[in-house]
Amino acid sequence: MEHRADEPRIGVYVCHCGSNIAGKVRVAAVAEAAALLPGVVVSRDSKYMCSDPGQEMIQQDIREHALNRIVVASCSPLLHEETFRKATERGGLNPYFFQMVNLREHDSWVHEDADAATEKAVDLVRAAVRRVRFHRALEKTEVPVHPDVLVVGGGIAGIHAALTLADAGKRVYLVEREPTIGGHMARFDKTFPTLDCAACILTPKMSSVKAHPNITLWTYSDVTSVSGYVGNFKVVVRRRPRYVREDLCVGCLECIDACVYKEGRVPDEFNAGLGKRKPIYIPFPQATPQVVVVDPASCIRVKTGKCKSTCVEACDRDAIVFDQKEEIREIEVGAIVVATGFETFDAARIPQYGLGVYDDVYTSLQVERMVNSSGPTLGEVRLKNGSTPRSIGIIHCVGSRDQKTNRWCSRVCCMYSLKLAHLLKEHTGAQVYNFYIDIRAAGKGYEEFFDRLREEGVNFIRGRVAEITDWTMTPEEEGRLVIRVEDTLAGFVRRIPVDMVVLAVGLEPAHDAQEVRRVLNIGCSNEGFFMERHPKLAPVETFTEGIFLAGCCQGPKDIPDTVAQAGAAAAAALALVDAGRVELEPNTACVVDEACSGCKTCVALCPYTAISHDRERGKAAVNGALCKGCGTCVAACPSGAIRQNLFEDDQIFGEIEGVLVHA
């Protein structure tokens, strides 16, 4: 049977999505209503449209019924639009003769009344049917992809992603804002549940980064701007002066010994403030690169210019240069892996826990350093008064699962608290009490580790601590810290005197996550962690194509999960740059030449300077490669002379008409 090419022959497919849609929307009724709409030739409902049989049905109908337009009413287009476009294409049609209706996220899942949900579904399908008539055949545009990759953040996630990409032969820029890579993991003593030495497994990877011919490592540096688009990002990196030439310093540390300060004066960041460092320092022995750094906030020379500068004299390689300036580097990359990590909760925000008030209240990070044999106490666990604690309380969920601070579970605190309980018991032989709300030990070997701790005699008290106080009631409490808690399993309140308190602080987004997000043009979820494109199906992708997430910047996770995600992000970036070309959604704008009056309204409105005014011809022109398809110019064009593919005026008017005009 022959059909006129311009006569719409529309196929409508209404998906049950199991009971996800069909449980609320009467899908058969929707399909029946659609069948009566003008232009609709085929209308069906089906259990799972995204399944092979569902897609096959579309292809077969295109062939059998000479369909030239397809509408699928199922889930969000952000999930399956591509799936159905491909099915449409396999059926022999241009894939853009397709329109998707969101009956799940926008209808069945959010409405309670079946009649209202069904009515809404019919309206939305009608809108799509009216819209799809105006669809046109479009070609995807392809652009070349720059083969290099940028990794932002040099913790374990960034390190792993960078190595994975570099090993695959890609050139990688690894940008880290601290003077060394290593991130939080470098500060841990052991890792749970295997009790591997964190440094033993991390430092070889740090060295590999430094040694890898494909990795350009820029520490003490920030990404200040990102422009461009998938496959073609332009990145500006600011390299702060460390007053030491990286190419000359060999990490002999003579300069540190030579500093006019004979003792450390500045709280040592790496040791969570437990130790002191000098203004010229190396963060920790295995720091990578092995290059000292001058802290401009405490160095007399930098601050006043007046110092004997003994460090300069001590360096026989002339690596210390106080006139070093910041450097701006501009690079081009095809993909970006964001691995900017997390910060720990500031426990002083919960004054009941006495951090900063009582001497022997510590954060978990401080204890990590305290039990570490290369830490400030060389692995000795000592109270401020120099004695060894006889009893220690570890308080879980500090700044987690709390509406007043952070609502989320930080995922790692239970396990690291168990680890610290083990290490503290091992180091001191003290009675250790863990105060928890729930123990979350869901990981390989985690529950077994919990078993082991119980066997080791660690006390587990299920209750959230209300207060740590020096208000004492009994002689045994005198001079100690009293933890007040309900033993919820026993059903009464207990007072437990301890010598030392460890606050298991939760994980938070980095303080400047919002700024980083703006620079990268990616999204944040409510709590401030970067948002993945889809929580299940696109966990490392972002809403900005070509930018991927790894590690705790996306949400709290432990080391195995972080490394796994970093691998996934690296693989996704690799898949992109390795293909060499990327298809862009053809939703760009274009000027209808003969209709343009050259009024120039559009030119200044384009945020990507994709529109130029051709003086010669007196008309505007859109550069398709620069256009990102927002449609602002289309809406603003006073004479309707700009069109946007996939979002044409007629298509949108068709949708409006469809949802409102009850046929």
């Binding site: 009056s597 120039k600 602002t632 809406a635």
Partner: protein
Amino acid sequence: MPEKPKIAFYWCASCGGCEESAVDLAEGILGLLDAVEFVLWPVAMDFKKKDVESLADGSITATFLNGAIRTSEHEEMARLLRRKSRILIAYGSCAHQGGIPGLANQFSREEILRGVYDDSPSTNNAEGVRPRSDHREGGFRVTLPDLHNVVRSLDQLVPVDYSLPGCPPTPKLLGEAVRALLAGTLPPRGSVLAPDVALCESCPRKDSKPTDLSYQEFRRPHRVALDPATCFLAQGIVCMGPATRGGCEAPCIGGNMPCTGCFGPTSRARDQGAKALSAIASSVEPTDDAAIDRVLDGIPDPIGTFYRYGLARSILRRKAGLPVDPREAR
């Protein structure tokens, strides 16, 4: 000798300017008089309604109807001429878009009558006399056309074959239309007989408009000394040129006044005012509500500015809350 094409001219709610534009054909009109036969032209020749009624349906080759549809008489005549004509041309802004009379769609019929017969400062009407469509006194019956509630463009009443925009249309466009009519070279029915590109294309000040325009304030033409060579928008003066069909030869611009939009939108826009608003508001400079509002305060009458000629045929047509007043019994 074949019969000459029969032509009618008629006016509904209009100022007479459109009729004047036909006269502006000047000597061209003589040729026209040779080429066609007028069957109705009340402003120039003495025909009666019954003359038209007596014609066979479809016997008029073309009717040029100007003015908006405002009264029952307009309605009746428009229907009559539609029936008798093979081609009906909405002539001028009022027939095309509703025109200036269309601005009355912001008011109810009662408000208008009150304004004209009671409240206007020059009116002395202590008895409160209002025109009545059917009045009997002393055995005499006097009738008047009835005032509609809503002002309409011609195509909102009867199907229109062509529109010739302008307030008034230019002699050039009229001449071209008549030539095409006589030569049988009219474009497809439904066309607007003017270029389909906005006025800026042919604006003499086009080159003076910068590409990075953004508005920090709007000014009104009667309050400032206007630079005679620079784009009005660049001077902060609202100009409808970018949203208005060209073909008028820019006489307003020549007179150092901004375009007010009489040629209506291009074929790709559904609502001239909306498009003009979109273009202009997009380029307002501030980014917060209060500051944006301060800039927009410079356009105190958005309807009169963006819909001076097009309100009746805009998407919203008429102020929503207005009642439909009962009309006089016929």
